[in-house]
Subunit: 290 residues, 4 copies
Amino acid sequence: MKIGFVGLGNMGSAMAANLLAAGHELVVWNRSPEKAERLIAAGARLASSVPDTAGGDLVLTMLANDAAVAEVVFGADGILSSAGQATHVSMSTISVELADRLEETHRAAARGYVSSPVFGRPAAAAAGKLFIVAAGPSEVVARCTPAFTAMSQRVFSLGEKPSAANVVKLCGNFMILAAIESLGEAMTLCQKSGIDKARLLEVLTGTLFGSPIYQLYGQLIVEGNFRPAGFAAPLGLKDMGLVADAARAARVPMPVLGILRDHLLDTIAHDGEDSDWSAIASAIDRSAAL
Amino acid sequence: MKIGFVGLGNMGSAMAANLLAAGHELVVWNRSPEKAERLIAAGARLASSVPDTAGGDLVLTMLANDAAVAEVVFGADGILSSAGQATHVSMSTISVELADRLEETHRAAARGYVSSPVFGRPAAAAAGKLFIVAAGPSEVVARCTPAFTAMSQRVFSLGEKPSAANVVKLCGNFMILAAIESLGEAMTLCQKSGIDKARLLEVLTGTLFGSPIYQLYGQLIVEGNFRPAGFAAPLGLKDMGLVADAARAARVPMPVLGILRDHLLDTIAHDGEDSDWSAIASAIDRSAAL
Amino acid sequence: MKIGFVGLGNMGSAMAANLLAAGHELVVWNRSPEKAERLIAAGARLASSVPDTAGGDLVLTMLANDAAVAEVVFGADGILSSAGQATHVSMSTISVELADRLEETHRAAARGYVSSPVFGRPAAAAAGKLFIVAAGPSEVVARCTPAFTAMSQRVFSLGEKPSAANVVKLCGNFMILAAIESLGEAMTLCQKSGIDKARLLEVLTGTLFGSPIYQLYGQLIVEGNFRPAGFAAPLGLKDMGLVADAARAARVPMPVLGILRDHLLDTIAHDGEDSDWSAIASAIDRSAAL
Amino acid sequence: MKIGFVGLGNMGSAMAANLLAAGHELVVWNRSPEKAERLIAAGARLASSVPDTAGGDLVLTMLANDAAVAEVVFGADGILSSAGQATHVSMSTISVELADRLEETHRAAARGYVSSPVFGRPAAAAAGKLFIVAAGPSEVVARCTPAFTAMSQRVFSLGEKPSAANVVKLCGNFMILAAIESLGEAMTLCQKSGIDKARLLEVLTGTLFGSPIYQLYGQLIVEGNFRPAGFAAPLGLKDMGLVADAARAARVPMPVLGILRDHLLDTIAHDGEDSDWSAIASAIDRSAAL
């Protein structure tokens, strides 16, 4: 397929490389064009502008936040201004509200739109082992299959309404941070009771909590290893804000969410902007004078 | 070994049966003696009194709560009044405070004491597949090995201080209910956003949350299947109270714990005493008018 | 003075009337001009446009939310487009962020700006008994004194930075709703313990909590009298959102705020958009199956 | 009247002195008898034992906690063992459960019982300006009037069931700490936003929150003046635990209560046992890295 790719951060670069490796024709764009060098060396073409990425079958966006996506789509020199009719495949973690607006705007422009955020860290992206959560009209999602196959180990289909995929992605991030929080609270209780955090983790992951989330983050908390950040606390705060926006729109109280946001604020207030979001465990320690 | 067993509820009966099957000599006692019938038919002896259970190598207790254990140990006709010197192996979920008191009292009486609560439901107990979390002086814990082997798939050693095992057991229950809570909040958000709870669960367990807890409880929540209770809400409330007691003693704030207790109260206020503790998910639904 | 007044809702109309009564020359504007009729009959002039209100000494805005203020100031036909040099006096409850933006923009246009939100309900506005919380450069705030005197019983000066007044106003609304929440929780506990809510209120207001907030809202809760709304739950939710924005910007965890927002969502989910914000007390009752 | 008085701490001594001054015949008892000296000098008689205090019309208890009251009533040498028929008037802050047990036990012994906890600090006790919240059979409460008159500025009658007075007293303490919490959160937000805590307090107490609680505790928070404690954090923690017990018994979720308990734990973990309970404001500051 002919695919445009906008946003070449850690995740995007790895995903784009897999598209290339799978034989797709790739046109890439990034605000800082030097990030595109390795891909160009591998056969991608550097787009002359954002609209230039939208001339093929698909244009994928993998950007930092709502503002970046909005700029790339609605901006003066954005995808909407392109004559091309590539289906827009939004893979970043964005708000439900923006996803709804993208759906509506693209529909009005007779352009296809799919929300397909991903689960996985840069290593999984590089290995083509992401999980993709996709939603949109089934015939439009179907068009994306070759691209999805190149980037992921599994695709979950969330139905016709694109923003449903964004809700599920946000729920996933909420669930991860909630797991970190409960693990952190239990570990602090153990340590102040004279039990090593590592011992608790061994019991938990050896019995009922064997999933990767508990193993990965449990280890980070045991080691107090929050820098460099795999996923920085301010990004976590942004995502939890998007969860809160979705919950407000749907009129759903989420009490654990309030705790998560407060602990992220505590973490950022103490440690600055560059700690991993799992550093909320150190906020819990601090609250217990540990 | 010669083993006494006090407390023949669903869990205790299954555990005792495995001890018998492994060839141990068993003396059993239960407040309602008819619960002992199957074990007697299988070769156990019915104790004439609680002290009669403490004449062998070990005496195991598997009882409902602190009060029951205290009665069986400190009561007028309790283990402490026995001339026997069996090591007391406390396997119920009891308070840290009671475990400390048991340790101290048994030490004063030159009797061994081990805290070894278990993870697992009755089916796991019947299959000899429990997880045991054991703590106490290592030579005393070592004495229990033949019995533990008969009942469990794995034993975790938590060190010399018996109550450490109780702290870890309580943390495990806290972690389970915290997972249920976060899953419940995410599911309510999804459903009010037009996404089936089952779809979210499929994504979560298919990606990052593959552990049995999320699968088991996620299914119960999707089905709204909270009766009969596998573990009733009032028992959950009791255990969360024990976690709170341990946290208060150790001076550890645990904000998620407050939410769990409030949702259990909400559940019991609405549904009575016989719902499963995972029915807190219905409290979350109610708060969102779902 | 010559004063422009934009926003003639319940609060604004009453405030404008007091300015007229104090002898000021008034030019008024409202999106629905019929709201201006009584003021015109009393001597005010109807502005031909928003910029027409900014030709005198001061232009006061008393509008529903950030969007309305932004439209009136930054919009195509807004205050900024006026040749007049009236000092802008923003009296609505707006975000800290918008206040900062107003300060900056007006400074760049060499126009004075003061943030001066108010405490008080329509009856207090009609009686000229509002409390005004004002901040801005002292010489600019001083210019507002004749107008403030006509509308209020007391003015609090919060210093040179305009948005400080907005922070304080938001804190006040947070404090009010927090008082309602704690009162609601205590009342529900009393009633489920067999004690009339009214009895608790009598004790509280007769001893330590004699302030008007507890008297007013306590009475509403006792009567379950949440319609028509004095201040509707969605407006409360909006304001608590502004508090959360300010807390996020300042990196301040505010755990009570999370509870307030969740109870407002619960209230709106159950009762719709038109209940008073004090109906969070009924969410508390519901959670206890009362 | 002939009155026994058990418990001569700061509060009890002051209350007893007012009974003497009003002309009542007083028999006093305290675990450390030297605390009785000033009262004896003023005309009181030192009881030979606790039962010796129960020979008159009333016996008042003003003790530190449930355990002290239970010891004085149910202990080997307690009020219950007295041949005297004095009505027991329990004025301490005790649990609802103990109050219910006292009612039942005294009724079985044909002895009158009244719960009548007080609001007020030692200075108010010395001035005879306490508030008394009394409950019990009306004819029994009536017997207490002369004593209540000597100690208080106002008596609130809470009906026939004694423990209702204890619920209300606990609710009052909950409301006070909730007010401190919300004030603390707002003050931290202000200070991190560049506004003095004192300025916020001036606005709040000058407008909507003029009651003594906000003035008193607001001043303590502004000054960071938490030692010596007027009411120490561990006592606050004990009382919040009694509120939680009452809420659990009545099946009432109280989310603010969880926050209060966590902040008290944080305070005690950092500052030790001797800070005032209003030091939870410093826990809030800490969480924001202030």
